[in-house]
């Protein structure tokens, strides 16, 4: 599944004014590769993911999924096909199994059709016996895996990850990176991964987009970006000196 963003603009209404969060953003994410979305705080990275998942509306431009404008796809179907893993794991009341089955239960007519959550627990390399555990009792890394399994249970074609390792220690982060890289190639997922960690982006990404103040300043192959950015903002960002917030 290929995603293309063409000149999209997103804003929010604040006290009778529209504040622009994204300005004429264009980028393309290829099938089966990890696309890192970099940028300082407040550059619009999370907004961009939420917009692709259609939790935010675009004011200008278009987003195409395999050439089809996402506004022409049923919004609930679109959200099933484009999975989003949020930065901080949040759980619905219930067990690990209940959380994983949240999505599949939406698509089954009688709402009670039995889908086994255990393969999804195994997919994220957790113990299937944890199916009846309260997810809030798990460690941060384990919670993020349950969160990932819940999104994967919808069988998405695109995976949007909003800084999934930001609250994890180095070891848990690397485990999650390895897991997602594996899933990406095994299931041919198109992955867009928001991170502010340059080293992480170097380890995981095939392609990179750098956002700054709501605009794309770099977009291309990760290797060439890290070897030598083509813009001043890109060089400043890699030097760790690009300031955040709008």
């Amino acid at each position: 599944m290929k995603i293309e963003l063409k000149n999209i603009s997103v804003g929010i209404r604040q006290e009778a004014q529209t504040v622009e969060l994204l300005r004429e953003v264009s980028l393309a994410a290829r099938l089966g590769v990890i696309h890192a979305l970099l940028g300082p705080s407040g550059s619009g990275k999370s907004t961009l993911l939420y917009t692709i998942n259609r939790l935010r509306e675009i004011q200008g431009g278009e987003i195409n999924l395999d050439g089809k404008d996402i506004r022409q796809i049923d919004v609930f179907e679109l959200r099933r096909r484009i999975g989003l893993v949020m930065q901080k794991p949040i759980f619905f009341p219930g067990t690990v199994g209940d959380n994983i089955l949240f999505g599949p239960r939406l698509w089954t007519k009688d709402n009670m059709t039995l889908v086994d959550p255990r393969p999804y627990i195994e997919m994220v390399q957790l113990d299937p016996a944890w199916v009846s555990r309260d997810p809030n009792t798990l460690s941060g890394g384990q919670q993020q895996r349950v969160s990932l399994a819940r999104t994967l249970a919808n069988n998405p074609e695109v995976l949007l990850l909003d800084e999934p390792t930001s609250a994890l220690d180095a070891q848990a982060s690397e485990h999650l990176e390895a897991l997602i890289s594996h899933l990406c190639s095994e299931r041919e997922l198109t992955v867009i991964w928001v991170t502010h960690d340059v080293n992480q982006a170097k380890r995981i990404a095939n392609d990179v987009t750098l956002l700054y103040r709501g605009k794309v300043v770099e977009h291309g192959e990760a290797k060439s970006f890290f070897a030598g950015p083509s813009t001043e903002e890109g060089r400043t960002y890699l030097a760790g000196k690009l300031g955040g917030e709008l």
Binding site: R54, L55, E57, F76, I90, F92, F102, R150
Partner: protein, 248 residues
């Protein structure tokens, strides 16, 4: 009761005023306004009721009920600040709950005369007002508190109603709890107004109790219906037509 005795009862309000002053609650002005409003509103209500009861005209009864529902809705809607169309939402809730309750009352044989319908409706509407106020208030705070959870459910493909289910449940529950609590303690902690009034007026306590049981059951149904109607209309206002949560 003589007018002198009634005037002396102002001493109780004086006590509340002293507490407010002593604790620096700043409620003295509110209290004074409340006293004046109570005096004026109840006196007018007394005269209006006398007239309506004497005339037995259906139109006066309907007008009276419409006024009661309008005032109740306006009062409860203040609890739903930030919810667009809160007044309309509450009014619909109160009107439907009042209509259903009245139909049930008439069905079980309560006479359709103003003497019965107006006081019973007063209790239905008053309790529906409290329930819808509490429900709206809780609804609005739960949506703020559970914004992440609602958005997560949307991101997984849930429709707005499914995504708001935990908020809806919490708000309806909050609206019903005061009624359920008062049902649990009625007769033990409190003797409700209607029953007390009937006993003071010389009615047989057993007969008064029967009416009170009817009223409590009626109120439990009415508050549940009002709370549910309020949230089922209200959750829509938090979403765009594209099933996106509106920015707060």
């Amino acid at each position: 009761m003589s007018w002198l005795a009634l005037s002396l009862s102002l001493g109780f309000v004086g006590l509340a005023g002293i507490v407010s002053r002593y604790q620096e609650l700043g409620l003295e002005k509110e209290l004074a306004i409340a006293v004046v409003r109570t005096l004026i509103q109840l006196t007018i209500a007394g005269y209006v009721l006398s007239y309506v009861f004497a005339s037995q005209h259906l139109i006066f009864m309907v007008l009276m009920l419409a006024l009661m529902m309008g005032v109740a809705a306006q009062n409860a809607a203040k609890r739903g600040k930030g919810i667009p169309g809160a007044l309309r939402i509450v009014l619909i809730g109160i009107v439907i709950s009042e209509a259903l309750s009245l139909m049930l009352l008439l069905f079980i044989g309560i006479p359709g005369t103003p003497q019965y319908i107006i006081p019973l409706s007063g209790m239905i509407i008053g309790n529906s007002m409290v329930a819808s106020g509490v429900t709206l208030n809780r609804f609005s705070s739960e949506f703020k508190l559970r914004r992440g959870e609602v958005e997560l459910a949307l991101s997984l493909g849930a429709a707005p109603k499914k995504a708001s289910l935990s908020v809806i449940k919490a708000a309806v529950k909050a609206g019903m709890i005061p009624t359920i609590d008062s049902m649990k303690t009625v007769g033990l902690v409190q003797l409700p107004g209607m029953m007390t009034g009937q006993i003071l007026a010389g009615a047989d306590p057993i007969q008064a109790v029967r009416y009170q049981i009817l009223v409590m059951f009626m109120i439990s149904g009415a508050t549940a219906i009002t709370s549910l109607i309020v949230v089922l209309q209200g959750y829509h206002t938090y979403f765009t037509p594209e099933a996106q949560l509106k920015s707060s």
